[in-house]
């Protein structure tokens, strides 16, 4: 009986290994369980922001988003709410604009400052200068969320995807993917849904 359990576990690990390898090679971004890179990117307040600045954090909600995408705009209030709820629990939001301002003038650093002030962003809103960070994460659209957990081996990717299952209206949401993932992570439980898809704006590099 014990042998069966062990065999099952081995099979599971092998399958998971095969899957993560497959997804990594296809998407050229992170899979669940990968260690995410740190960065040093300029915030709208002029300061440089890195994950390593946050000594007391238990994790991070790294959200690739921008000024110009209607889906990003539709989620701005919900991103503020996520930061309000989870910063105090040790999982702050860090928003990264991955778009190249030369190709998308509406996503320039100056316009980011304006948007951050207008919406009263409570979290850093940094520009991926040179567009070097988002491809490493494998972000493909805005908004695109990566939940990281700080561990001894680095910031491990725990969830990739959408904030929830209804962009049109926060009140119609049935599944709060990100909240469920952060709650599970903080409680030391297994995250049930680790990747989700959503329509969004392709990133313009």
């Amino acid at each position: 009986m014990k042998l069966f359990k062990i065999l099952g576990l081995v099979a599971l690990i092998l399958t998971l290994g095969a899957f993560s390898a497959k997804f990594t090679s296809v998407d050229e971004g992170y899979a669940i369980g990968d260690v995410a890179t740190d960065f040093s990117l300029k915030n709208v307040d002029g300061a440089m922001v890195s994950l390593s600045d946050y000594n007391d954090a238990k994790g991070f909600l790294v959200i690739f988003t921008c000024n110009t995408c209607p889906y990003s705009v539709a989620y701005e209030d919900r991103i503020n709410a996520l930061d309000a709820k989870y910063k105090q629990q040790g999982v702050p939001v860090i928003a990264i604009n991955p778009n190249n301002p030369v190709k998308k003038p509406g996503d320039s650093f100056a316009k980011m400052k304006v948007r951050a002030t207008e919406k009263g962003f409570t979290f850093p809103y940094v520009l991926d200068e040179g567009q070097e960070i988002y491809p490493q994460y494998g972000a493909t659209r805005t908004p695109h969320v990566f939940l990281l957990e700080k561990t001894s081996k680095g910031n491990v990717v725990r969830y990739i995807g959408a904030i929830d299952d209804n962009y049109q209206s926060a009140s119609q949401v049935e599944e709060k993917y990100v909240e469920n993932a952060v709650d599970a992570m903080l409680a030391g439980k297994e995250i049930k849904v680790t990747t989700t898809r959503a329509i969004g704006c392709g990133i313009k590099a």
Partner: protein, 184 residues
């Protein structure tokens, strides 16, 4: 008399059955659908068909000898608008090769009247335009293609023999090149 009563009850059961059925169907449809329906009804007669994924699905699996080029786009998506003329061009040029372009708009309901309709009219778009309005994106995106994360523009080309999905922008040349793999 007994017979009459019996058949009366039988007829009543039939009638009730008939009335019941659509009600059951209504209960099956989610609140989102009802919501979307109510919204589309108030937005007085949008010119294009409005589908949820199940409604769109038949257009993704036609088996009539044609090659279909399905482009997912929206008026708020700038790179989509850049490549839209290429799809229009292909639709016109390849008609005789049994090719049909279908433009699936992912514009939000608030934009159907204010942006989508005027845009299609202004540009004189001839390809078939349909609206996909299904908030359960995490359910239907992988059904369109397992590798698609949901960023647009994105394009599906298929016929009865072959099927390819492209989560990318196209130039006119690239689009022709891909399409040629289907029609030659």
């Amino acid at each position: 008399m007994k017979h009459l009563l019996f058949s009366l009850v039988f007829i009543m059961m039939l009638v009730v059955g008939c009335v019941e059925k659509p009600k059951e169907k209504g209960e099956e449809s989610t609140t989102e659908q009802v919501y979307a329906k109510a919204e589309s009804e108030t937005s007085d007669e949008v010119k294009f068909p409005i589908y949820d994924y199940e409604g769109l699905k038949p257009l993704l699996y036609k088996d009539d000898g044609k090659t279909y080029v399905i482009n997912f786009w929206a008026t708020w998506c700038k790179p989509c608008l850049v490549e839209l003329p290429y799809f229009e061009k292909i639709n016109a040029e390849q008609k005789d090769n049994n090719v049909e372009v279908i433009l699936v708009s992912l514009d939000m309901p608030s934009m159907w009247k204010s942006r989508l309709e005027p845009y299609v009219e202004k540009k004189g778009i001839e390809s078939k335009v349909v609206i996909l309005d299904d908030p359960k994106q995490n359910d239907w995106i992988p059904k369109i293609d397992e590798t698609w994360g949901g960023g647009i523009p994105a394009t599906l080309i298929y016929n009865k023999d072959k099927r390819s999905f492209y989560a990318q922008e196209f130039t006119y040349e690239e689009l022709n090149e891909e399409l040629n793999k289907f029609i030659n």
